[in-house]
Structure formats: C-alpha cells, structure tokens
Symmetry: C2
Subunit: 512 residues, 2 copies
Amino acid sequence: MKKTLLYFTFCFLLYTQASAQDIIEKVRNYRKANEHRLLSEYLELLAIPNIATDSANIYKNATFIMDMMKNRGISNVQLLGAGNTPTFAPPAIYGEVIVPNAKRTIIFYAHYDGQPVNPLQWAQGLVPFKPVFMDKSLEKDGKIIETPDAEQAIDPEWRIYARSTSDDKGGVFAILNAYQALVQSKIKLTSNIKFFFEGEEEAGSPHLGRVLEKHKHLLQSDLWIILDGPVHQSGRKQVVFGVRGDVNMSIKIFASKRPLHSGHYGNWAPNPAMQLARLLASMKDETGKVLIDGFYDDVTPLTDSEKQALAQIPPADEQMRLELGFAQPEGGGKSLVEAISLPSLNINGMQSANVGAMAANVIPTTATAVLDLRLVKGNDHRKQVEKVANHIRKQGYHVITEDPTEEERLKYPLIAKINAKDGYNAQRTPMDLPIAQLVVRAVQSTSQEPIVLLPSSGGSLPLYLFEKHLNTPTITVGIANHDNNQHAENENIRIKNLWNGIETVAAMMLIK
Amino acid sequence: MKKTLLYFTFCFLLYTQASAQDIIEKVRNYRKANEHRLLSEYLELLAIPNIATDSANIYKNATFIMDMMKNRGISNVQLLGAGNTPTFAPPAIYGEVIVPNAKRTIIFYAHYDGQPVNPLQWAQGLVPFKPVFMDKSLEKDGKIIETPDAEQAIDPEWRIYARSTSDDKGGVFAILNAYQALVQSKIKLTSNIKFFFEGEEEAGSPHLGRVLEKHKHLLQSDLWIILDGPVHQSGRKQVVFGVRGDVNMSIKIFASKRPLHSGHYGNWAPNPAMQLARLLASMKDETGKVLIDGFYDDVTPLTDSEKQALAQIPPADEQMRLELGFAQPEGGGKSLVEAISLPSLNINGMQSANVGAMAANVIPTTATAVLDLRLVKGNDHRKQVEKVANHIRKQGYHVITEDPTEEERLKYPLIAKINAKDGYNAQRTPMDLPIAQLVVRAVQSTSQEPIVLLPSSGGSLPLYLFEKHLNTPTITVGIANHDNNQHAENENIRIKNLWNGIETVAAMMLIK
C-alpha cells in the first residue's frame, strides 16, 4: 500500500510539474510572439500622468485600462466609486471572468496611480511621463536608446524609465497580459478571476475602505493577490504574507515668538533646534535601539514557520550595504530581515529655519521633525503614538496638539506640539493557510531557484481593510526589480521583470 | 586754593551743562520746524530698494545720498570703490567738513544697504520698499495711517514700516540731519567731521577692508563712530564699545547614497537626521553650557571698568522673556548681558529631507545644520571652529571638507562634512580711552536718564578692519527702537527714535 501511494504521489507530482512547465512554456511563447505589441501598449499607458489628485488624467488612465480589459474579453468592466465624497475619489476599476463550476474566486489587485513627481529631480533626458528605454540602469551608466521597432530583438536587460513603470502600472501590465496569454493559449481556468485596480494607493487609499464596503457583494473572493512591490534583492521571486502597519507623527518644538538676532540673544533665548536634537537623541541609543518605554512590547511573536522562513531568506545585507554606500547598518548586528520584523522609529524629515543659501544668523522660532513608526502584528498605532508622546512628556515637555497659547508659552520651558495621522496596523496572513500554500507552489513552479517567503514586508499597505470589510486574506507578490527607484525620481523597470511577472501571474491564476 | 579750584570746576560744569542744553535745544527747535520736510526726504530714500547685489538700485541710493550731502554743504563728496573686483562691489560714499584749527577728526559711519526681503513674509499692507506710517507697532495692533501732511502734527510714537528704516538708513538720516541742524543753528564745529556710508554691510562687508586700505589717507581720523543697531531694551540710550566676533559653520552628515523607502530599510539603513540630532545634542548640556573641550578657554577676562559697566546695565531679561514669550532662558541662570559676554554656539538652521506637505516615508540621504559661533575678545575664529571639529571627531566621525568618496562612504560609519566661512574675531575699544569717555559724556548730555554703557554688543560687525587697516578705535551708538524687527520682515522705526538720534549725533559731533 505504502509503495502504491508513493507511486501515485510521484506520478501526480510529475504530472503537475509537467503541466506547470507546459503552461509556462505556452505563456512564454505567447509573450515572445507579442513582445513589441505588449510594450507598445504599455508605453501608451505610461505616458498618461497618474497622480491621484489629477482627476482628468486619472479618468484617462481608467478609460485606457478599461479598454485593455474589454479587448481581452473580461466581463462586467466598470468603475467602482466610493459614493458621495467631499473631495475627488479616484475610482477603482473592476472586471471579472466567471468560470462555470469554478472551485474558487481570486481577485488580482494593482494600482494605476503613481507617486507625485518633481521633473527637475529626474536625470537628464528622463521625463516622468515620457517613457524611454535605456540599455541598463542609470546607476550602471545606462544610455537612452531608441524604442525598438518590430524588427529589432528586445534585450531583457533593457529598462523602461517613467513614473509607475514599476509602482504599479507594472502590476496592471502583468495581470492583464497573463490573463490574455492564458486565453490565447487556450488554457482552461479553474477559478473565477476578478480584477481590481485602485486609483489612489499612493495618496494613502483614503476611500478604499468605502469602496470595499459599498461593493462588498461584487468583491467576494477566497483570496486577494496584491501585485505591488519588488522581487527580493537577490533577484529571486518572492511571496509576502503581510505588511507592517504605519503611522506618521510630527513633533514641533516652540521657542521665541519671533526670530531673534543670534548675536544679541544667542545662548540666552532658547533654541528650538537644539531642544529637538536633544529630544530625538533621547529616543534611540547609538545602536539604533529605541529607548522609549514599552516600545517593543505588544509584539506578537513570530510563529515557527515564520521563523523558519526568515532563516531561509538569502541575506541581501552586504549587497545592499555596498549598493547604498554605507559602512555600518543600524541595529547592533541585526540583519535586515530581523530589523523589519520589529516595530521601528524613523526620522523622515527635520527642519528648523534654513540651511544653505537661505541660512541667516537667527535663533529659529520652531523646529519640526516628522517620524514614521512602523508597526508589527500586535502593535496598535494609537498606542504606539502614545508611547512616544509619553516619552516626550518624560523629557519634561508640555505636550499639546495645537499651537501653544500665550499662557502656555510663558509657563512651560519645553513645549512640543504632536500630531499623528494616517495610522493603521500591521496585517499578516498565516503562512500555512492552504490557499497561501497553493500560491507559493504556483510561484515556485515558474522559477528554477527557491523563491523567497517573507512573513512580512518592511513596508506598509492598508491590507487590514480587506480583512476588515471583506474578511478575506491577502498575499502580496511583487514583480519589479529591487532597484526600481520606487517613490523617487528615475523610476524604472527591467524588461525581464515584466516578462517574469506575466509568468508568475499566469501560474497564480491557475492554482488548483 | 582748594576752594577756588572747586569753584572754577563748578562754573565750568555749569557752563558746559548750559552749553550742551542750549545746543540740544537749538537742534530740537530746528528739527521741530522741519519735521515734515525731513521725513518726506526720508520716505523717498526708503523707497529705493537697497539689496547689496542690486547694482542699479545701489547706485540710485548712492546718488540720492550724495545729493543729500551736497545740499547740506558737505565737501569732497565722492564714491569710494574697492578697485578691480571679480564681483560687484557696492561703493562707499564719502564726504567731509574740514574745520580750521580742528582739534581732531571724527568719522561717522552708517550703511545704506539692507537685508534681503521676502515680501510674502511681511504683514498685510506692508511692502518692503513702500514706506508707510503706523500709529503704533504691529505687535500692539498698530494700524496703517495716512502719511501726515504739512498741517498735521506728527506723533513721536508713530512708526515708519519699510526695509532699512532702522538698519541702517536710520543712521544716514540721523547723521546728515544732525549736521544740518548744527549748521542751520549756526553752532560752530570744533572737529573735522567725515562721513562714510557703506553699501554692503548686510552682505558681510566683503570689500570693506580693501576700501579702507585703498583710501586710508582720506579716511584718517581719531575715531570712527558707528551708527548702527538699537538703543537698550529699556529705551535708554546706549554706547557700545565692542562687538563679538562671528563664524558660521555647516555640518552635513552623509548616510545612504539614495533616499530609501523607510519601511523596507528603516532602522537598518543609517538615518543621518538621527545621527545629526545625537551629534548636536552632545555639544551642549540641558542648561545650554557648551560641552566642547576648551570652548570657554582663550577668553580675555573683563576689565574692572567693564565688569562695573555690566553691573550697572538695567536688566532687560524679564521684559524680553515676556515680549518673546518663553518660560525660561538658556544659560543656567546667567543674565542676558552675562550670556553675551561669553563665546556662544547657536543652531541657525537644520534640515534633513522634508517636513509638512512635502514629507515622505523615506530615510534621508543627508542632514545639515548651520551653526554660528560668536566669539569674545581672546577667541580666534579658526581655533574655535577647530574645537568644534575636534569634538565631532571625538564622537567617532570621519570629518571631511568635501563630499565623501565611495571609499570613505564604505569605510566610515559616521561621516561629517564641515565648512566654515565669513569668520572674524571680536573687537573691543577700552572703555577708559579718553576719546571714548568724551563720546559717553556727549551722549549722556542729551538724556535725562543714565545711559547704558555696554562693553560689547552680542552681535557682530567687522570692526577689527578699522583697527587693522587704519589703526583707529570704534564706538558704536545705535538709535533704533529695540523691537525694530531688524533683519526680518516688518522692519520699522519709531519716530521718536529718529528725533533722539539727531540729538545724539549732534552732541557727538561737538565733543570737546
């Protein structure tokens, strides 16, 4: 009996292996035969500006993507709004493919809006919404090359430079072209596939909860697969089971009411920049450990499978250190994956009066720092902010949330105004959830190398919303190269990552 | 004999007292009879923009002032240049009144250029180069009023708002109108009077040394009287015998080469803002005492007469604390005049990435602070900067003066680029110098209240240049109200301070 079972298992594995190989082969052949057409359509999409507040262009993007969906035979294509909102709410785009006797329903998510751009910060020849090809990355002295014509072979190491090439029109590209490749290759779907493209992710998804709630019937599924973010720094494909939570807080220190001549009053009138420096320095030790009381409390310990997954991630630390150009990371010896498994405190920005050409011999009136606190499972964003506020109080500060009154100014030697916003908690899908394991197997089937399983990304997305409004788990699978300059100037995607992305998504659409 | 001497002394004092009173009376009567004309001319001067880099307008100012001088019968009026200079050097304006058998020569200094302006920062209705009258100060809810016509009495509590009303066209006004009042009142001069109006003081006087050197023959004198700055905060007239030195230095911390996503890399990649905060916090204790080794060394102790003068200054601390709106000064209990008698370390500005609307979830690449170090007699500006640099090294920093190389980035965990500029040392004229005492007596003769004698201003002027190039002492006598918003938006002068300034200068022109 035992022998027979083993034999059957082996045959089954052989069959699924062969079948997966066969499917990937077909998807790849389809892509190879259509590369120029796929990229040409992608360049058109990239050329439409996509800042979430730019309503006219947001609708142009949405119309273009809806046409892409209709051309691929996707049904029930429509915009999902948030109802009446006081400010513009970029619509989500929905579509579906219903399969008779489907075992399950999977929704694929990407977002079609992008980060704001400052064209002046982009390298020469690069314009955020004029996509161009480069022969390699800018950092490796890449040169701009002509857009290849139909006769010219496309080198998979080339890159396309434009806003949202990676984050996250690349997700839209991979999802819609994977679906088309399956249809054109006559591969039968076994799950219902739904499509959901958000239009305000980079603006903090302020209406996503309302959209999910309002359209919850349409958005029923067994799993959301989030196409966003990069593959692992090693180049391996990666499946991510969660995100850290995040909350931003600003700290503003108040001193004299008017800027003072630093000669006539310096070292007598209080200096808010020095006060802020002392306050920030009190928050961490020299190894980067946060010294705020209870900061690391509330953390839900990693499960055994999560610990095991972390141990198996190929270390990217030394590669990243060399790439980023610094001698020693923070953390007192913790690895990057260990660091992102903990709550963090990071200074995003700091300002008091002016530096550079605008600097003057003054004692500033205020000094401001913006922090972001990343949260892991177990942390509550309101509680984490309160820990920081308590720490500030312990340093002798009068803590307020509005500008100080005249009376407060004269009464308290140290005054800090703190404001927190946009907070949400971490979300983590259990790694041993059966449907999660199916996704892992599907992604692994498209790669020769072991894929990376990350219990939680260091970054944050409001994935708790899917749990809250739809009670549905999420899995995140990024396809972009890690050096894509996401959120910054000179955003780009490596062509090979687009090709790999199509195969990854196709395999996930066929999970059994 | 003793009795006779006493009698003569008494008669002499009576005579000089009477004579001083008489003169002040005549000057005042002249001013009263000409108030509207004097102010009307002053408004014309204030309406000419006077930023040192604005060469066309600088010449308009110079031409206007030369006309004022010629109209008052001043001789040898001319522009003094710096010779060939690679960049524009605003000329100084010179004039003289040579008196037969004069006992001595006094040069009166003021500057006709002003601080740069940002019109957007000025209060509603106020425009930097459109002088207007207000019925009291803006801070006391002053309202803009019509420029008084010839029939209307001028309230001495009114103020004029415009750039350089106080700093330092007010000095030009007082000097030229005091001279005119003496001439028109037929009061005989006993000293040669020279006039020197600088055109680039607010730009740091980059060519002043060359001008003094090139024209040293013309600029021979026994004393320079610097008309610049305010009277004492108590409202009393003030004679200042020195200035602190000053040097600015910037500290720039380098971390990763490109801005990083704070989620993916936060608390692993080094944060330069936190490094800077720790570094700045290490420089001072919580009472404001500078912790840098040897920072208070090299200080020449105050002389007995200087100590005595400090003790006699009416304390302005509580008044200023209430006016500026803070609970507790730095300095661990030191008074304002004690604080400005010491070398200081002040943060002028601090910046890393962005705060406010531009803040992003990034780990910044660099963080910068600008310090100004004020110096007292005995300090050398190069040595003081070196003390700070050594302190930074002691905190574990690799200190450089250019951006770090790739090799340096990968080798040193802490990297600080420091640059110092515009440094010069303190200058102090001995309080017991006979000619200084004559000035003190002259100023005192114009006031009912005891005047304030300040051994050194907290602020800085390159007065060492007059010692270095001309070997001539300097005395500084400011006339502006202390709340004149010098260097900032909403600069103003109180009319009464203009009137008092004329009398102060007239008395100083007549020192015996």
